[in-house]
Each structure stands twice: as C-alpha cells, then as structure tokens.
C-alpha cells in the first residue's frame, strides 16, 4: 500500500499545494477555482481527487502536498464511507496539522446530525479540525476558500508569524466529542 507522505519531497519556492478529496465531485472544482483566484501572495496548486490512494502514474509529477481536505457531503452516506477508507492511505505525519475536514449540507435533513456527529468523532480521533461550509451560495464558497487558505498558509510554512502547523492544530482540532455524547 502506498502511503501519502508529507515530507518525502522538497517544497517548491513560494508555492503551497492543497489536495481536495471528494467522491461526488460537486464542490471541489468550484472551490478550487475560488482558491486559485483568491490567493495572490503565493502560488497555490490545487489537486483534485475522488479518493485516496492517488494514482501511481502521477507520483513523479505531483508536488509535495501541504494540506489534505476531505469534503464530506452529509446528505450522502457514501461520501462519509469513502473518506473513512481514504484516511488509511495517509502517513501519520499528515495528522500533525495537515489534514482537515470540510462538511457541507449540515443544516439539511435529520440524518445529517448523526453523520455530523460521526465526522466530528472521526476528526477528533485524528486530531483534525472540522469546517462547516455552505456550498450553495458563492459567498459560502468564498468563505470556505478563505478559511482553507489560512490553514494552508500555516501548514505550508508561508505564514510570516512564527507559528507552525503543529501549534495551530492544537488550537483548531476538533475536540467536541464529549459534549456530543452527553446529548
């Protein structure tokens, strides 16, 4: 099994790479468009994938990936299952602040609350942040892109402030499982 590792490649100058993983391919291309047009301080490469592991053929041409974003559509069970299986193909170094979950459709329907709870448990057990996003409006996508970019800036070491992804992840990681269990 080929694991995706964060430190096996040399980073490119002034460039950060973000990998968006979404099985249904609804949000990722819209989000990618916004991300590349939004950021103008440094170069952002966006890689789109449906699931992990990534195809071996692209291994050489693929740059170092600084942030992996799993997009979970709460209306679909399959989306969550695919993310769960994809998590096995990442090296544990990524969980030091280089993985985050983006959740959509959190306000729709009654099943979504259970799924949201399981996403949060999953995130908490992997020490990752969970971001809720609105994907039906342009504003929502802009907001999500801005938040992802600020995490990417940390994890790719682009931030002028002396802080690290590891330090940020201790602040942003999802730890809300205890209050969910009480409900």
């Amino acid at each position: 099994m080929t694991l995706l590792t964060p430190f096996s490649k040399v980073p490119e100058l002034n460039t950060a790479t973000i990998l968006l993983v979404e099985i249904e391919e609804q949000l990722q291309s819209k989000l990618a468009d916004v991300i590349v047009h939004y950021e103008n301080e440094f170069n952002v490469n966006v890689r789109l994938a449906r699931k992990l592991p990534l195809p071996v053929e692209n291994k050489e041409s693929r740059p170092r990936i600084d942030l992996i974003v799993f997009i979970v559509n709460l209306l679909s069970e399959r989306s969550l299952q695919s993310v769960e299986s994809s998590l096995n193909h990442i090296h544990s170094d990524y969980f030091l602040g280089k993985v985050c979950f983006l959740v959509t459709d959190a306000r729709c329907g009654s099943y979504t609350q259970d799924r949201l709870a399981s996403v949060r448990k999953l995130a908490a057990s992997h020490q990752c942040p969970v971001i809720c996003a609105e994907h039906r409006t342009a504003d929502g996508i802009h907001a999500a892109a801005a938040r992802l970019l600020s995490i990417l800036k940390m994890s790719a070491g682009m931030s002028p402030i002396p802080t690290t992804a590891l330090y940020l992840s201790t602040l942003t990681r999802c730890s809300a499982t205890s209050d969910l269990e009480e409900d």
């Binding site: 099985i23 047009h37 490469n45 966006v46 890689r47 789109l48 449906r50 990534l54 053929e57």
Partner: protein, 338 residues
C-alpha cells in the same frame, strides 16, 4: 350529424386542453374562416365546444371528418398514451420494395376481409411515419370510434408501434401487418413507454451513439475545457474513461426519454450457504422497476459521475443495445421474456 358523431366529437374535445383547440381547428381545415373567427377562445371550454359542434352541424360534417380531427390531434401529441412496440421478423425478398399504396390496400383488404364493420384510416406524416387508426367493430356492431387502436410504422423498418390494442384484436392486426409488409412473422419487442418519440429514437437509432474506439480518448483530450493551470485532477484519465463508458452504454446526451425499465427476476439465491434462502428449491421471484422522467439520462449520469464503479452491467446497457425495457432474468442470466 347523428347522435353518435356528436358524442364522439365531445369525447375528443374532452381530452384536448383548451389552449390546443385553436391550432387544432386550423390544422383540421373543416370549418370556414368565418366560423373560425366567430369562435371565442377565451370562453369556458364547454361553451366553446358547444359552438364548435353547432358549426360542425352547419357544415354537415360526418364521422370521417371527426376521425380525421382525432388523428391530427394524436399525431401532434404522440406522447400521451402508453405505446408498445413490435418487431417484424423474417422479411421476404421483396419486403424492401413495398410501396405505400400497396401497403395501404393490402392492410385494408385483409382487415376488411376478416371483420365486416371496421374503420381504417391511414395518414402519412411529414417524417415518413405512417399513422394508422383502426376503429374495431364486429359482424353485428358498428365500429367503436371511442376506443380506436393507433399503429405507427415507418415503411421498410422492422418496428411497429401500437397503442390501445385489445387482446382479441391482436392476432388480426399482427397478421394484417405481416401480410402487408411482406414479413414472415411479428413478435413483441418488449419495449413500452409513454413517449412515442423516445421509443422511435431508441429503436431506429436516431440518437447520438458512441462506439467503443481507442482513438476517441485522444479526441476527448482536446475537448476538455481549459481550467486554471494550477488546478490538476488526479483522476482525470479515469474521468474520461467513465464518460466514455457511459456514452457507449447509454448514448451521448440528450438521450431518449425512456421512463421505466422492468426486470422480472426468476432466480435462485446464491450465497455462501449461511442463509436458509439458498436451500430452497423454488425460484426467487420478484420485480425490479426503475422509473424516472428520463431513465437513460439518470443511468448515464450514475456511470459518468462515478456513482457506479466499474464497467456497466449488461443488464442495464441492454436497454439501449437491445432496445427493450422489459426483461425476465432467469437462473442463467438474462433470458427471453415471455
């Protein structure tokens, strides 16, 4: 005009929405220009219909004109009833040389020879389709114009589309079609749908088909829309492959608007022996029905978007490949349905 003609006329107008009446009357061309002008289409439908009936009486129209009106309406709105398709097989050597007049004469002669009271009307539509309206009677009663059978056939093709056919008339009509088109026999094509247009495009292969081809992959690469140079798709080749598979199985969009597909299961459960189902001797029977406003489009989307993994199962691709939407699945895979 006698009582029955007026009754039939009323029944015809009952099924037509008010907004279509004006155009229909113009196409019918049986009322004078003055009469058409005198009709007020903003009035409630029943007063409008009463006016039309009184005009028809003035013009002394008979049942022939009325059936003509009904045919015009059916040809304009072919997607309002359930149609079944049949396939003519075993063509004779001269089947390709059947002419329109010859076909008409033979069909009429055969049916009139078998049933004394029958009304047959054949009309050729602009798109080369023959529309045949048959009102059945028997030796003692007059043709029933309230429930006519409609048959649509394109000469020199092997498919016939039939709507509203009663079981007792089936054998007569089938025989008449076989004789007049010079074929050996006719069989059910197992395709039925509300939209005649979709059935015709599917069976006569008038939709955009994609054939398995190694070169099409290269062509597709040129067509991919230009995205930002910083965005790269990891699964891009897979995506193209999926799209190709979907197009091969269900055609390029827009696909024919098929509404249902029915699979009748007569299979045995083959598990790994842990359940009691596999012990039973008798067959497992069930019906699986897929329905959608545009079934082929939905299936195509499922494959193209990657919701369904792997190659398309022959059970689904058979809908377009064999042009049918009713299957019986026996124990040895898809079999011939009864």
């Amino acid at each position: 005009m006698d009582e029955q003609t007026i009754f039939v006329l009323r029944r015809i107008f009952k099924k037509i929405p008010s907004r279509n009446i004006e155009d229909l009357l113009k196409n019918w061309n049986c009322l004078t220009a003055d009469q058409l002008r005198a009709l007020d289409y903003t009035r409630p439908k029943w007063t409008l219909v009463e006016n039309i009936i009184s005009f028809c009486e003035e013009r002394r129209l008979n049942m022939k004109h009325i059936t003509n009106l009904e045919m015009i309406n059916r040809i304009e709105n072919p997607d309002n009833d359930t149609w079944h398709s049949c396939q003519l097989v075993e063509p004779q050597d001269d089947a390709l040389f059947v002419e329109l007049t010859q076909f008409k004469e033979q069909l009429k002669a055969y049916l009139e020879g078998v049933i004394r009271h029958i009304s047959i009307k054949i009309k050729k539509h602009e798109d080369e389709a023959l529309w045949i309206r048959i009102a059945w009677g028997d030796n003692f009663s007059k043709p029933n114009h309230l429930k006519p059978t409609y048959v649509v056939h394109h000469l020199h093709t092997s498919y016939v589309f039939i709507c509203n056919l009663m079981a007792k008339h089936k054998i007569l009509l089938y025989q008449a079609l076989v004789v007049s088109t010079k074929h050996g026999s006719i069989k059910d094509a197992h395709l039925s749908n509300r939209s005649l247009t979709a059935m015709r495009t599917l069976l006569l292969r008038h939709y955009q088909q994609v054939f398995p081809n190694n070169h099409s992959m290269i062509l597709d690469e040129g067509n991919t829309y230009a995205s930002h140079p910083c965005i790269e798709k990891e699964h891009a080749p897979h995506e193209e492959r999926r799209d190709q598979l979907a197009s091969e199985a269900f055609g390029d969009s827009p696909t024919p608007k098929l509404e249902t597909a029915v699979y009748r299961l007569e299979t045995r459960y083959r598990g790994n022996g842990k359940t009691t189902l596999s012990d039973k001797e008798e067959l497992f029977r069930g019906v699986v029905k897929f329905s959608s406003t545009s079934l082929l489009h939905s299936l195509r989307h499922c494959v193209a978007s990657g919701m369904v993994e792997g190659p398309v199962t022959p059970l689904l691709s058979a809908i377009t490949q064999k042009g049918r939407n009713y299957f019986v699945i026996t124990d040895k895979g898809p079999g011939v349905s009864s």
